[in-house]
């Protein structure tokens, strides 16, 4: 197989710019996503069904439809009414944050519910309020259990951000598509993109292993 390194080198500067954008989009989206997710997760654990229901539907919608479709809906349906026109960067942050919020919510819920009920009962019998029990007893233990799941969600998010090339957000996949277009070649752009994503997710998983060990 002939592999033309010269066109990879030609595109390296923009690919690196795209990589920075991918990292930026992923970090912001996982942060917003987990803040929203915390609220949605608690909402889903509400005791009354009519409080639970909207959060339940939110999670079901975002986990049950392809991100591909969500990106198009956000880009052409959600952003224009607020912003007046489409904007690929806003689409990137909004679509990925909303999507990641649904998964984060389930991570929070699973983490919290994995802590034995007895812990809460013990905390309350010591004279803590329900909120105090959650904050000082349950959450610290739950968060430790959530770290691997969050790491996984982050890695998935980094790779999923490649779908944003669909609406021309200039991330890694966008530039490798451009490379493909100019030379009508497949291996150079796609293998290069795959290598960049691999380096990103591999270093991320190393970092997460370290964090897990330190906790």
């Amino acid at each position: 197989m002939d592999f033309r390194f010269d066109i990879v080198i030609q595109y390296l500067p923009v690919l690196l710019k795209g990589t920075l954008l991918t990292i930026g989009i992923s970090i912001v989206s996982i942060l917003i996503g987990s803040i929203l997710g915390l609220g949605i997760g608690f909402g889903k654990m509400a005791p009354k069904w009519y409080f639970r229901w909207p959060f339940h539907s939110y999670i079901n919608f975002f986990r049950g439809t392809p991100l591909y479709v969500q990106i198009l809906i956000v880009h052409f349906g959600l952003i224009p009414p607020f912003y007046g026109k489409t904007n690929a960067l806003m689409t990137a942050f909004v679509a990925l944050s909303l999507n990641s919020a649904a998964y984060s919510a389930e991570i929070f819920r699973a983490g919290i519910q994995s802590i034995d009920r007895g812990q809460k009962e013990a905390a309350i019998s010591l004279g803590m309020s329900s909120t105090q029990a959650m904050r000082f007893i349950i959450l610290p233990q739950a968060i430790k259990r959530m770290v691997p799941a969050f790491g996984n969600e982050f890695i998935v998010l980094v790779k999923d951000s490649s779908l944003l090339a669909l609406v021309a957000a200039p991330e890694i996949m966008y530039w490798s598509n451009t490379m493909k277009g100019q030379y009508a070649r497949i291996w150079e752009p796609y293998l290069t993109a795959a290598l960049i994503y691999f380096i990103l997710t591999y270093s991320l998983s190393k970092l997460l292993n370290y964090v897990e060990r330190r906790m």
Binding site: P13, V14, K17, L72, H75, F76, P80, G84, K85, T86, N87, A88, A165, L166, V167, A168, P170, Y174, N177, T178, K180, G181, Q182, Y183, A184, R185, I186
Partner: protein, 271 residues
């Protein structure tokens, strides 16, 4: 027990190896035989009116054109909708599909990797803007936001005018999304093949759009059939394409799709 497992594993692995190698050589032999009696075209049928899916059938100008060419050549053929990327890779390999038929413009950069038939279609890129736009020609697009389908000649042209890494040049997955972007206000203009733009305007008469042709900056481009380097099919099909262009069958098809006479002289004299 353990040793036995190992033995089974290695037997299984060598079987797999044989199967993989065997498949490889079988494929090659198969395609050589197939190449004698039948040519398989790959296409990206998402480019109305040139080639598109009408539910589960591929239709379009290119499809009607290749039909008369293959009748002329007396060779059996079929056309499969593979999508653009698969078409490019598999035609380059030349084993499963021996040619690509998908409004592929002949460009020098692509010639580094592929062979082309003689030109069979003259096209140009066209600018689509909203009716109240002050854009007059391609150079006015320099500091505007322009939506295009990536990997097309519109991409090459606008990359040349605006710079390949210009953030205002937005490359979309398909012309359909690029046109939606213009409609939703995310772009000031779309640049695409003339046939695509005309089809879109025809299908959206209530939207206030205006089209601009700029032969000075965009010029003519020509579509060719895509072959792998050194393909024997070029020599077999080029005479048939030439005959169809000259005997009036081409003009007939052209009229049914575009409602006007083709400029045959340009196509025949194009390099």
């Amino acid at each position: 027990m353990k040793a036995e497992k190992k033995w089974i594993m290695s037997a299984f692995m060598s079987l797999m190896m044989v199967a993989i190698v065997g498949c490889g050589s079988n494929n090659n032999a198969g395609s050589e035989n197939a190449a004698v009696e039948k040519i398989k075209f790959a296409t990206d049928a998402s480019y109305a009116p040139m080639e598109f899916m009408d539910t589960d059938k591929i239709k379009g100008f290119d499809i009607d054109f290749i039909k008369v060419v293959m009748e002329e050549a007396g060779i059996d053929y079929d056309v499969t909708n593979t999508g653009w990327d698969t078409m490019l890779t598999s035609v380059k390999q030349g084993t499963e599909y021996q040619a690509g038929l998908s409004s592929v413009s002949i460009t020098d950069e692509r010639k580094e990797t592929y062979d082309y038939s003689i030109p069979y279609f003259e096209s140009t890129n066209m600018i689509l803007v909203k009716e109240d736009s002050d854009i007059q020609n391609a150079l006015d697009l320099k500091d505007k936001i322009v939506a295009i389908q990536g990997a097309t000649t519109a991409d090459d042209l606008m990359s040349g005018i605006m710079g390949v890494d210009n953030g205002n040049l937005r490359r979309f997955d398909s012309n359909a999304v690029a046109l939606m972007e213009l409609d939703a206000g995310g772009a000031d203009a779309v640049v695409a093949d003339i046939a695509i733009v005309r089809e879109y305007v025809k299908n959206n008469p209530d939207k206030k759009f205006k089209t601009i042709t700029d032969m000075e900056n965009f010029g003519s481009e020509y579509y060719g059939i895509l072959y792998p380097k050194g393909s024997e099919w070029k020599a077999k099909l080029d005479p048939a394409i030439k005959a169809v262009l000259e005997n009036g069958k081409y003009a007939e098809i052209y009229k049914t799709w575009f409602g006007e006479e083709p400029n045959l002289e340009n196509v025949l004299n194009a390099k």
